[in-house]
Chain length 210, copies 2
């Protein structure tokens, strides 16, 4: 997992390279930011990602510029970030954030095998809402054709994590300034049924959390 | 704001180019993902951004690879994404997410003017916690030197927004599958005071929200 470019140089004590840590972050995050190069310039697009074993998937319309570029074998950098808290120090300088992030470098391949595609699209629904895939109408042949699916092996990757309270300069601890952490998390509200919904709210929606 | 590469091609009805819409998203988001090109390959790093008038700032250690690359005038793509909800449709294919995102392209300049630097670092604290900058010890000369500050003009940018319920194929509305939206938002918990905090929790922390 650790290569020259995935070696965290700044604040190396925040780095991690083990799959368990990386996968927990990738699985909790709903979206990633995919970076790729177009005509020499960087482009960063948010999209849903999901993981199956040691492969990261993302998908979209067969008409998407991003996916068509990536399908042609250009390099990608996929970054996922979870915000865990605001870290308020006594000095402006030592303010920080608690977070967990993962960066994956690699070259994606297009998934064209029908079985892998169906399995991966099932895993996508499960990534977003566990328990949902059994309820929904699966993709038909036209939808399968319209969906461009890309797979990125998770081989060159690293995580960076900050936790805990602020760390101030010793002399600043005497300042009468509140310091601490404001915890942050993506949370989910009461489901809003579609006007034409014919079924009650399923348990996996009522108890939804990540 | 609208140029060839910021013109949203996919689902163009979700696009917006007006400053009011863009700035509201940039100001609400705590972090951005900055993309840049190193040796021809994309790198995407999460970092705190903040806006002052028509300029987007980001900062970090003078030792940071990312900031040193960008200081040398390489192009950047800064993307900000807010997740507003899970959109559960009756078909797997029409599942989606409600979100608001902004993409800004441009070339950053390093801020070296002392006054602009102090003003911008003040604005950073205010971006994260409004009301906080008056309480904290401001940066000293060493900290100012250690902080590399970059400014990106918000000139080439676009927003993409999805809101509302799922949109299913007409024949799927007859399916007995629950459909609707699960609202999502970054929320903040009870502040955790630092063990050595000498002051009570300020109002701007107690009532913190974005």
């Amino acid at each position: 997992m650790k290569t020259e470019r995935t070696t965290v140089k700044r604040l190396a004590k925040r780095a991690s390279y083990d799959r368990e840590t990386l996968y927990a972050i990738l699985d909790e995050a709903l979206i990633c930011h995919v970076g790729f190069v177009v005509d020499g310039a960087p482009v960063v697009i948010p999209t849903i990602h999901w993981r199956h074993d040691d492969t990261l998937y993302f998908h979209g319309s067969a008409a998407s510029r991003m996916l068509r570029s990536l399908r042609e074998g250009v390099e990608a950098c996929v970054t996922v970030t979870l915000i865990d808290g605001l870290v308020l120090a006594r000095s402006a300088f030592h303010h920080s954030m608690n977070y967990r992030s993962v960066v994956v470098f690699g070259t994606a391949r297009e998934v064209t095998d029908r079985d892998e595609k169906l399995r991966a699209l099932d895993a996508l629904v499960e990534h977003v809402v566990r328990g949902r895939s059994a309820d929904v109408r699966p993709p038909n042949e036209i939808e399968l054709r319209q969906t461009l699916l890309l797979a990125l092996p998770i081989e060159e990757a690293s995580a960076k994590i900050r936790t805990g309270p602020p760390v101030d300069d010793e002399e600043d601890y005497a300042l009468p300034v509140w310091a601490g952490v404001v915890p942050a998390a993506l949370t989910f509200g009461s489901p809003i049924p579609d006007e034409r919904a014919l079924a009650g709210v399923p348990d996996y929606v009522v108890s939804y959390a990540r």
